[in-house]
Symmetry: C2
Subunit: 571 residues, 2 copies
C-alpha cells in the first residue's frame, strides 16, 4: 500500500470520552471513529486489522468442520416470541415495526434464527452432527455503550451453533469448538485464559469464556494456585473458610447508635473502630415480582449474577432511590431488623454474630445484631463475589484463589435442549422418533478481539500489534520528503517485497520523518525499514523492530538480506 494514496487518520489527542487505553489508541491511530453512542466507523487501518482477525476465525472454523451461512440482522419478532426470549432480553433487544406494521428485532444473537433454519433443513439423525457459523453484524441496545468498539451497540460477531443427537455428541461438538477457539487466539498472538463462566441471557447449563489477559480488563478472573480451576468472578462458587467466625459465641443484645451522615461501610468502620468485615450491608433489589434484600459482609461485593441465578428471575437490579422512598426504606441506613421484605443472606454471614447493620432510621445503625433472633432469613446462599485468598471451590483441592483481570473475547455455551424444546425443533432419530436437538453456541466478537489485542499490547508510543494482526507487517519509510535517491530506493524495496507478497506499506507521504516514525509506532507496525540520505551515503538502510526496539543497519543493495531479516523477525 502506498500511504500517499491511503487514509492515515492519526490524531495527536484522544477524545475526552475515551476512558480505556485501547479506545484512546484506536481513535488516535485512526482505526475507528464514533458516529453515535456505541456505533462506529472502521477506518481503513482499523478494518485491515479487523479483516485479519476475521480471516483467522474463518479459516479455523472451516478447519473445524463448521459450515458458513449468512443470516439477516433484521429478524422477525415471532421467532423471539416462539423461544420466549423476546421478554427476557429486555430493552437490549431493539424492536421496531416495518412499513407494513410487522414486528421485527435487530438480531443481538441468532439462536432463534439458526434453530428455525436447521429445523427446516435437517430432517434426520443421518445429517447430524452439524455446526453452522456466520460472521455477521449484530445490534445490542446496551444502556451504557463504552470503551470504543469493546462494548459497542453495533458489532460484528462470529456466532456458531452446533446441533447433535444427544448429550455426548453435544459434548464432543463443544470440545471441538473449544479447541478451535484456542487455535484462533493462539494464531492471533494473544495471551489468554479459558475460564468457567455464567451463561447469562443465552442460557444453558455450562459455559467457558476466553479471556484476553490485560491489567485494564473489565472482567475479574480467579485461578487456583494448586489446580486447573479458573473462572469469571461472576460465577466462581465459594467454599467459605470456617475459621473466619467473628463476633464471639455469646449473643449480646442489639442496640441503636447515632451515626450521623455515615452511609458507607468505611465511615462506620472508622467511627466504631471495627474492621469492615464486622459490618453487614443490607442491599435492596428489585426483581421480577417485588423487592428483596440481601445481606453481604462489609468487605465483600454482591454477585448479581449468582443471586439472579439462585432466585431464578429474569430481572434483578439495585432498587432506585424512588422505589426505596415509596417503601419507606432509608437509603444508607437500611438494616434487616423490622424490614418488611424477604431477606437473603450470604453464606459468609452465617458465621457472624453480634454484627453491625443499618437500623432503618436516618442517621442510626444497630450493634449486636444476630440473624434468626433479630430477623428472619429466607435463605442463606453463595451470593458474593470471590476475592483473592478465597479457597478453591474444587472438591479435595486445598489451593487458594488469586485474581487477574481479563477481557472476554469469546464465549462457548452448552445449551442442551433449551431452544430446541421451546421452538419445537426436532429430527427423526434412528428409532424413527422425533427428538429435540442438543445444541451448543459459540461466539467471538471480532472488533472486540482487535480492541483486546490493543489493550494487551501497547506502550507509551502506541500499539504493539502481534505480527498476525498488525495493519501492515512492514513499512518502508522514506525519510526524505523530496523526490530523490531515498524515495527511489524506498520504491525499489517496496516493489521487491510487494512482488514477494509481503504485507508491506510504503510511507511516501509528503511528511517529515518524525511524523512517519510516530505514525508507524502508533499504528503498531512491527517492522520499519528507514531509508534516508545519511545512511544511504554510507550504503546502508536502517531496520527497526517495534516490538524489541532494536535498530540495525544493513547493506542497501542486499535486497535478499533485507528479505531474510524480515523473515527472521516475522518467524
Amino acid at each position: 500500500m502506498k500511504l500517499s494514496n491511503y487514509l492515515i487518520a492519526t490524531l495527536k489527542e484522544a477524545p475526552s470520552d475515551a476512558e480505556t487505553t485501547s479506545h484512546q489508541l484506536m481513535v488516535r491511530a485512526g482505526m475507528i471513529r464514533k458516529i453515535a453512542a456505541g456505533v462506529y466507523n472502521f477506518l481503513p487501518t482499523g478494518l485491515r486489522v479487523f479483516r485479519k482477525v476475521e480471516n483467522i476465525i474463518r479459516e479455523e472454523m472451516d478447519k473445524a468442520g463448521a459450515i458458513e451461512v449468512m443470516m439477516p440482522f433484521v429478524t422477525p419478532a415471532d421467532l423471539w416470541n416462539k423461544s420466549g426470549r423476546g421478554e427476557i432480553y429486555g430493552k437490549e433487544l431493539l424492536r421496531f415495526k416495518d412499513r407494513a406494521d410487522r414486528d421485527f428485532c435487530l438480531g443481538p444473537t441468532h439462536e432463534e434464527v439458526v434453530t428455525d433454519m436447521v429445523d427446516r433443513e435437517v430432517k434426520s439423525y443421518k445429517n447430524l452432527p452439524i455446526t453452522i457459523y456466520q460472521i455477521q453484524p449484530k445490534f445490542r441496545d446496551e444502556i451504557r455503550p463504552r470503551f470504543g468498539v469493546m462494548r459497542a451497540r453495533e458489532f460484528t460477531m462470529k456466532d456458531a451453533y452446533s446441533f447433535d443427537i444427544n448429550e455426548a455428541g453435544a459434548e464432543k461438538s463443544y470440545i471441538n469448538m473449544f479447541n478451535a477457539y484456542k487455535s484462533i487466539f493462539d494464531r492471533c498472538g494473544l495471551t489468554y485464559k479459558a475460564v468457567e463462566a455464567d451463561s447469562g441471557n443465552i442460557g444453558g447449563s455450562f459455559s467457558h469464556e476466553f479471556m484476553v489477559l490485560a491489567e485494564t480488563g473489565e472482567d475479574l478472573v480467579l485461578s487456583c494456585d494448586k489446580c486447573d480451576f479458573a473462572a469469571n468472578v461472576e460465577t466462581t462458587s465459594i467454599k467459605e473458610n470456617t475459621s473466619t467466625v467473628t463476633g464471639g459465641t455469646d449473643l449480646i443484645s442489639a442496640n441503636e447508635i447515632s451515626t450521623p451522615k455515615m452511609t458507607s461501610v468505611d465511615d462506620i468502620a472508622n467511627f466504631l473502630k471495627v474492621s469492615s468485615g464486622d459490618i453487614v450491608k443490607t442491599l435492596v433489589l428489585e426483581s421480577d415480582d417485588d423487592l428483596i434484600a440481601v445481606l453481604i459482609r462489609g468487605d465483600h461485593d454482591l454477585s448479581l449474577t449468582k443471586l439472579k441465578k439462585f432466585l431464578s428471575v429474569n430481572f434483578l437490579d439495585f432498587a432506585s432511590e424512588e422505589v426505596l422512598k415509596k417503601r419507606n426504606i432509608v437509603k444508607g441506613f437500611c438494616g434487616p431488623i423490622d424490614l418488611d421484605i424477604k431477606i437473603y443472606s450470604d453464606n459468609a454471614i452465617k458465621l457472624m454474630t453480634n454484627f453491625i447493620t443499618g437500623s432503618n432510621k436516618l442517621d442510626f445503625h444497630s450493634q449486636g445484631v444476630n440473624h434468626d433472633r433479630d430477623f428472619p432469613v429466607e435463605s442463606f446462599g453463595d451470593f458474593r463475589e470471590a476475592v483473592d485468598g478465597d479457597l478453591c471451590p474444587c472438591d479435595d483441592c486445598v489451593g487458594t484463589l488469586s485474581s487477574t483481570r481479563g477481557i472476554e473475547v469469546g464465549h462457548v455455551f452448552k445449551l442442551g435442549t433449551k431452544y430446541s424444546e421451546s421452538m419445537n425443533a426436532t429430527f427423526a432419530d434412528q428409532d424413527g422418533k422425533e427428538k429435540n436437538y442438543y445444541m451448543g453456541c459459540y461466539g467471538i466478537g471480532v472488533g472486540r478481539v482487535v480492541a483486546a489485542a490493543v489493550e494487551q499490547n501497547n506502550d507509551e508510543n502506541g500499539i504493539r500489534f502481534p505480527i498476525a494482526l498488525a495493519p501492515f507487517q512492514i513499512v518502508i519509510i522514506s525519510t526524505d520528503k523530496k523526490e530523490g535517491e531515498s524515495l527511489l530506493k524506498a520504491r525499489e524495496v517496496y516493489d521487491f517485497l510487494l512482488n514477494l507478497s509481503y504485507d508491506v506499506a510504503i510511507d511516501d507521504r509528503n511528511e517529515n520523518p518524525g511524523v512517519k516514525f510516530k505514525d508507524a509506532e502508533l499504528l503498531g507496525i512491527p517492522l520499519q525499514l528507514r531509508i534516508g540520505p545519511k545512511s544511504l551515503a554510507k550504503g546502508l538502510v536502517e531496520f527497526k523492530n517495534r516490538l524489541s526496539g532494536e535498530i540495525i543497519e544493513i547493506d542497501k543493495d542486499n535486497l535478499e538480506l533485507i528479505k531474510e531479516k524480515i523473515d527472521e523477525l516475522l518467524r
Copy 2:
C-alpha cells in the same frame, strides 16, 4: 468439501411465491431461504457463490485503488436530516428509536455517513482524490419485496464513493470505477451491457447502470442499431418521428359517444374500429402538491421517471381510486375536456388531431378532440417510454432503437457537489479556500449479482453457473452408496485435487447416484467426475461437462490426465 458433512438443502419443488427462474432455482438448489418478506438466509451453497462474487469485487476495488472501510447499518437520523434526504426517501428508509429515544435509520445507502467521514478525516487537496468503499449489509423497506434476493429488503451492497477537487477529477474517478465494474462483471463470466440511466433517489447529474442481459430481466434496455447508444427505457429520451401525424389537418368538432363499460384502450379501439394509436389516455397522478393529468398516446406507456424529473417533484404516483372519487373524476372515462387540473401532454400527442379521449362521464368517450381548441395544455414534453423502432436520440444519428431485457446489478453515479453542499463538506484547496468535494458513488448488489447470474444461466436441469461463480468447480461423485472400490477411488481423486487447491467437493452422501447427479446439475457445478463400479471395471472414470453436456471417459489411474482435463475445461 465432503458433502456427507455438509448442508445440501435441495428441494424438488419451488415455493409458490417464487415467480422468477432465479428465485425458484436458488430456493430449489438450497442456496437461500426466506425468513420474512424480503429477508433471507443464505444457506451454505448460496453463501459460497456470494463470497466468490464478494471476493472478485474486493480484488477489483483494491486494484482500482479504492480503500475499504466499514460503516454501520444503524445510522443516526441527524445525518439524514442534514442532507435533507430523510424526507425525500419516504418509507423505504426504515426509521426507529433506540432505548434512549434517539432517532436512527437502517442505512439504505451511505452517502451521508461517508461524506461526514471524509469531511472529518480529509483536510486538504493534498489527500485527494480518494475513493472509499465497503461491502456491507443495507436495508430498504421496499413496498413490494420480490424475486428472492433480487429485490430483497435486507441485502449486501458494495458501495463506493469518490471525492475529488473538481469536475475533471470526478470524471476521472468515475471512469476508473466504470472500468473496475467492467473487470468485475467480466471476471464473473456474465453477459452485460453498461447503459445510461436515471439517478433516482441518489441524485446527481449522470449515471450508468450495468445490466446483466436476460430475457426475464425486470428492466428494459434500448440500444441503437447504428451507434453506441444504450439506455434504460426509464431514461431514454425520444426523438419523435414527425412522419407519424395522425387525424388529418381538418379539425372536426368534438362529440360524445356511448361506450358502456369500455375502460381500456383495447375496448375502445375494437369498438370504434380504430388503432390504439388514435386514442389518447388521460392519466391522473398525485404529486407533491396536487393532482395533475398527463396525456399519453393509447399505444404508449407513461415514464413516471421522466415526468417526475420534468416536474421536479419528490413524489409522483398514480392517484388512488379514493382520491379520484373525491375530485369527481370518473375512473376509466377520464378525459382532458373540462378537467379542472393541470394537463401535461406527451410530445407524441402534439402530432395528433381529431383524437379519441374519455369524456369525464361514466360510459362515454369523446371523438374529434383537439388540444388547445378543446382543452389547455400546461406543457408538452417527453413523457413516454421508448419502444422498439423509436429513433435513436443521438444528434445526427439515423439509427433506430431495439429493446433487450436486463437486470441491474451495478450503478455508477456522478453526484457533483449535491451532498458536499447540503452537508457543508469541504477541503482546503491549493489557494487556501474551503471548497466542496466533487463526488461520485458506485454500487453493486452482491446477492443480486448471484441471482442475475442464475437468471442468465440455467436450463431445464437447473443452474449453469459460470466457472468463476459456481459453489464448487468440480464434484467427485461416487455412484456406489456402499463403502467399496468406488468410494475409495473417489476419495483418492478428491484428496489429490484438494491437495492441489482445486475447488472440489466429493459427494460421499448415502444417496442414490440419480440424486447426486440431479443435485450437481441443479447447483450448477460445471464439472462432474463420476466414479462407479461399471466404468471402474473397465479401468475408466466418467467426466461430465455441465455446460457443454459432453461426457468423456478417462483412465482411472491417470490422475495427472484428470487434472489436465480439468485445467483444460476450467481455462
